[in-house]
């Protein structure tokens, strides 16, 4: 396949460029003395074997071929993506119907879920639930993220604070946020407060530990440079340690964004009047398996979209991120 795609240049041009290359090699290997012995006219011919129009023609042909190849590859990738999804949906559609005695209400095929999706969309329930869930997840994420960055910076760069907080923070870090759901319900009820508190708890630790590592291990040359440029210790924290730790901070935030969704669902399953977790829980009680699937689908889509949005925003705000 790839061989067929190769450059199709005029034969003449190919030969000439080969001649040019061969001569260039000879000149390149010549010792300075030999080069001086070569007449200037002979050296000049090396660069003039192809004239301007020919160079332009070869370049254009090359660019055209490259464009065609990359277009073809892009199209093929999209087609294969669609084919993969189609095969998956087809199997899912056929399988429940082809097994005799299987209740389609318990194992709904895609067509059934599309109906449920349309119902839930037109009633506005789905959008309302999704909005409530996203607001909770992002609210807790914001509080947990900001706290995580602050505590991470301070514990990394202020030694007494680190030694005092180490045992407590590492002890708490080992408790899964989901295990705290019953306690949160007792303390804060089943309103927004308990959900935000749980998500804050779950998102705080990955941000803290990553910020801590990033700030502790900032390239010492950055710190020394800044100090010899006249920076004081407070300004060092904001202008050097924070951006120096940013690659790891962003990694922690991204991890926490996923955790925010997990904790959000766990909190909503226990009790909520609105939210995707509540949608799934109440669908179970009324035996609407298709509604459960719609809820799962929405969660998947939201997680995927938030993660991509995060990466997009990170690269937009920090063009240097991930580059060296």
């Amino acid at each position: 396949m790839a061989k067929v795609e190769q450059l199709q240049l005029p034969k003449q041009a190919m030969e000439r460029s080969r001649i040019g290359q061969a001569r260039a090699v000879v000149v390149g290997e010549a010792t300075p003395a030999e080069r001086d012995a070569t007449p200037a006219s002979a050296r000049a011919t090396v660069s003039s074997t192809m004239d301007e129009t020919e160079i332009a023609r070869v370049e254009e042909a090359f660019a055209r071929t490259q464009r065609r190849i990359s277009q073809k590859n892009a199209t093929r990738q999209i087609v294969l993506n669609v084919v993969g999804v189609a095969i998956f949906l087809a199997i899912w559609e056929i399988l429940p119907r082809s097994i005799s005695g299987l209740n389609l209400l318990l194992f709904p095929p895609p067509s059934g879920i599309v109906d449920a999706l349309r119902d839930l969309l037109s009633s506005g329930d789905l959008l309302w639930d999704a909005a409530a869930s996203i607001a909770r997840a992002l609210g807790g994420f914001a509080v947990g993220g900001v706290l995580g960055i602050l505590v991470g910076l301070l514990t990394a760069r202020v030694a007494p604070l680190r030694f005092m907080s180490d045992p407590v923070l590492h002890g708490f870090r080992s408790i899964p946020a989901i295990a705290l759901v019953p306690l949160a319900v007792v303390w804060f009820g089943i309103g927004e407060m308990s959900k935000i508190a749980l998500i804050t708890w779950g998102t705080f630790f990955p941000v803290w530990i990553n910020t801590y590592l990033g700030a502790r291990d900032v390239n010492p040359a950055f710190i020394r440079s800044a100090q010899s440029l006249g920076v004081g210790s407070a300004s060092l924290l904001v202008r050097v340690i924070l951006p120096g730790a940013l690659p790891l901070i962003l990694a922690g935030l991204r991890q926490s964004l996923a955790i925010a969704l997990v904790v959000m669902v766990a909190a909503e399953l226990v009790g909520a009047s609105v939210g995707l977790g509540q949608l799934i829980a109440s669908a179970q009680q009324i035996f609407r398996i298709d509604h459960m699937f719609v809820g799962l689908l929405a969660l998947g889509a939201i997680g995927f979209a938030l993660d991509h949005l995060f990466v997009l925003v990170a690269h937009h705000l920090f063009p240097w991120y991930g580059r060296t």
């Binding site: 390239n219 040359a221 950055f222 020394r224 440079s225 800044a226 100090q227 010899s228 440029l229 006249g230 920076v231 300004s235 202008r239 050097v240 951006p243 120096g244 940013l246 920090f318 063009p319 240097w320 580059r323 060296t324």
Partner: protein, 264 residues
């Protein structure tokens, strides 16, 4: 043993800019006796000097530079800048490191502006300074690029501009050309000589290349390890820009090599 004069007091001894006086630095070694990174080192740098320190790894070159920069403190002895003890790093001593120490999160312009901004230089004055120094290193057009978009040689030139824009009295360089290719290195060396002459600040330059030391320096300090110490100071009385294909140049190279070999 040495062909060149070995002196304790360099030219301009009347008022040296930097005075390193009987300095020793000990490093703790777990389970063993502490190790001497430097033992009883004395050195002075005049306000117009370009001092190059050469020596094998472990001879304490970088320790000496860090002492003068103020990143570390001597275990014994004193380091003075203009007769005042050095207490820590500051903008009067610019530092250029061997690795790329530019801030990767800032553009070229913002990297150069870092020092003036930190020192509270007003915005219009800052902009003028940054433009002047970008011009000086011929990177005016790269102002909005990030370090990752630059070649190794360009990054080091920005590192020079970032240090010099503060108008330091002393420029400290820790093998700044170690990571660039040979061709880039020789053009950076020429540019550095011009920058030094233009800025008229003292320079302290660490290298393990004898040629680089003789090409750049007004003085070469030969150091040796275990414990790190200064063996000899050799004057390089050659006019700039220097020509490597002259007898005096080659003789000085031999002298420095001889000094290194006799103590290695």
């Amino acid at each position: 043993m040495l062909a060149a004069p070995v002196r304790d007091a360099p030219a301009g001894a009347a008022d040296p800019l930097v005075e390193v006086d009987g300095v020793s630095v000990l490093y703790p070694v777990k389970g063993r006796r502490p190790s001497w990174a430097l033992r009883d080192v004395s050195l002075s740098i005049g306000p117009q000097d370009f001092v190059c320190a050469v020596g094998p790894s472990g001879c304490g070159k970088t320790t000496l530079l860090y002492l003068i920069a103020g990143f570390i403190k001597p275990t014994i002895g004193a380091i003075k800048l203009n007769d005042r003890l050095i207490h820590g790093p500051g903008p009067d001593r610019g530092v250029v490191f061997q690795e790329y120490a530019l801030f990767p999160w800032l553009t070229v312009r913002d990297n150069v502006e870092f020092g003036p901004r930190t020192r509270g230089v007003p915005a219009d004055e800052r902009a003028r300074l940054v433009a002047e120094y970008l011009e000086l290193i011929n990177l005016t057009r790269a102002g909005d690029q990030y370090p990752f978009e630059l070649s190794g040689g360009m990054r080091q030139r920005v590192a020079f501009a970032r240090a010099l824009v503060n108008k330091p009295r002393l420029l400290l360089m820790d093998e700044p050309f170690a990571a660039v290719d040979a061709m880039t290195r020789s053009s950076l060396q020429q540019e550095l000589v011009k920058l030094w002459q233009h800025e008229q600040c003292a320079s302290f330059f660490i290298t393990h290349s004898v040629d680089e030391a003789v090409y750049l320096g007004t003085k070469v300090v030969v150091m040796s390890p275990h414990p790190g110490r200064v063996d000899s100071v050799i004057d390089i009385d050659l006019a700039y820009p220097r020509d490597r294909n002259t007898m005096p140049y080659r003789e000085l190279i031999r002298t420095v090599q001889g000094a290194l070999a006799s103590h290695g």
